[in-house]
């Protein structure tokens, strides 16, 4: 197949230097009080047998966000309730031994789901991010940047609720923060902060009975997207 018909007006250096473009997903969730990333075991070369981010190539009529959404649906089986945003592009000249591949990382934050089904005969599994090292390609770096993006965004957005099911308690939400930041947060101060922030949480006036202790209230996520003022990871040395 020749491609010289394309890119009229561009010189040969462009036509001779084309890229395959893939989208790689950093799908994060909170499982067992730990931040976890969804990985797929590679069944073919290169990096056969290694764990890698799920991903795929961008289709002929697709935009990047389309590809990311399509792959996310393929992974979790349905239109997910969480959050999806672009991370960055990665295009090191030797990042893929098969040829010149540019990957666009996408970050997805999802509620904890059942164990994932195999995708295209490849094993998929959640891994705590602390143990997700030695991945294929440059996926270690992409995971690291995704995790750092998630950590930072919890500070000044309400995205933590994306890790929660449609209805959740304040404690559920606090455990998300504690898992993502790997810190402990005072439950009383946390409750004051999130319930006093306009539009973060909508009380449903229903209680969760059956557990030990005083039954907590259920909340739904509100319309607010940003936290003003933010909730800072490292306190300002007060």
């Amino acid at each position: 197949m020749t491609i010289t018909a394309e890119f009229p007006g561009c010189d040969d250096s462009v036509r001779g230097n084309l890229f395959a473009v893939a989208v790689d997903l950093v799908v994060l969730t909170v499982r067992a009080d730990e931040l976890a990333v969804l990985l797929i075991k590679r069944a073919e070369k290169p990096f056969e047998g290694s764990w890698a981010l799920p991903g795929g190539f961008v289709g002929p009529q697709e935009d990047l966000a389309d590809t990311a959404a399509r792959e996310l649906v393929a992974l979790v089986g349905r239109e997910p309730a969480g959050h999806l945003e672009q991370l960055a592009g990665y295009a090191g000249p030797s990042r893929d031994p098969r040829g010149r591949v540019l990957s666009v990382g996408y970050l997805a934050l999802l509620p904890d789901l059942a164990d994932p089904e195999p995708v295209d005969d490849r094993v998929a599994a959640w891994h705590p991010v602390t143990e997700a090292t030695g991945l294929a390609f440059d996926h270690d770096r992409i995971v690291a940047e995704g995790v750092e993006r998630a950590r930072a965004k919890l500070e000044y957005t309400t995205l933590a609720a994306s890790f929660c099911p449609p209805e959740f308690t304040v404690t559920d939400l606090r455990k998300v923060y504690e898992a993502v930041w790997r810190t402990e947060i005072d439950p009383r101060n946390f409750q004051r902060k999130v319930t006093s922030t306009d539009g973060f949480l909508i009380p449903t006036r229903t209680l969760v009975t059956g557990g030990r202790g005083r039954p907590p209230q259920l909340f739904r996520r509100g319309d607010a997207v940003s936290l003003h003022p933010p909730m800072l990871r490292e306190p300002s040395r007060q």
Copy 2:
């Protein structure tokens, strides 16, 4: 030129759907108390005569950051003192009529320079961001995202100093914030904030004489990269 030799192990859908990859620069500076972006007048189709972001294709052995740095040097003539970071990837199927082109936006924050020289016979000029509309391709959107990134980063980083020359006064720095945020800031509170933040500003103990009023002190930027606690654009309705 055939490309079927590349991408062993990938199916034909990959080989038949390759992208040219370009880097587009959103170069921002503060001129005349306004945030301005560096644009180039296109001399060829498509969008002949329109203003566009400076950019170019990624070379065979280049990483994206290499391309961005190379183009920035070509634009401003020398290794610049400011800041350069990746914005995002843009790959809409019809964003370039010549073919499938993925652009990776890079954001550069520079001190105010002399009027730019023409680049490759194309006119280059600073435009206030408020007037930078109707650009070629999807560059309106890329500029908007770059400006928003810059606005957000001034809140919680010391990047505002990237808009300043090596030595600058507190008022210079405040005018950067005011230009980028399009707000007015109380000079006394601003001075207290930036001079009390450890590592933001290093006093040079030299004064600028010749102007009206009390001569201000000159500062250099310090090692700090983040602002803790941040300086928020919209006050928390105090």
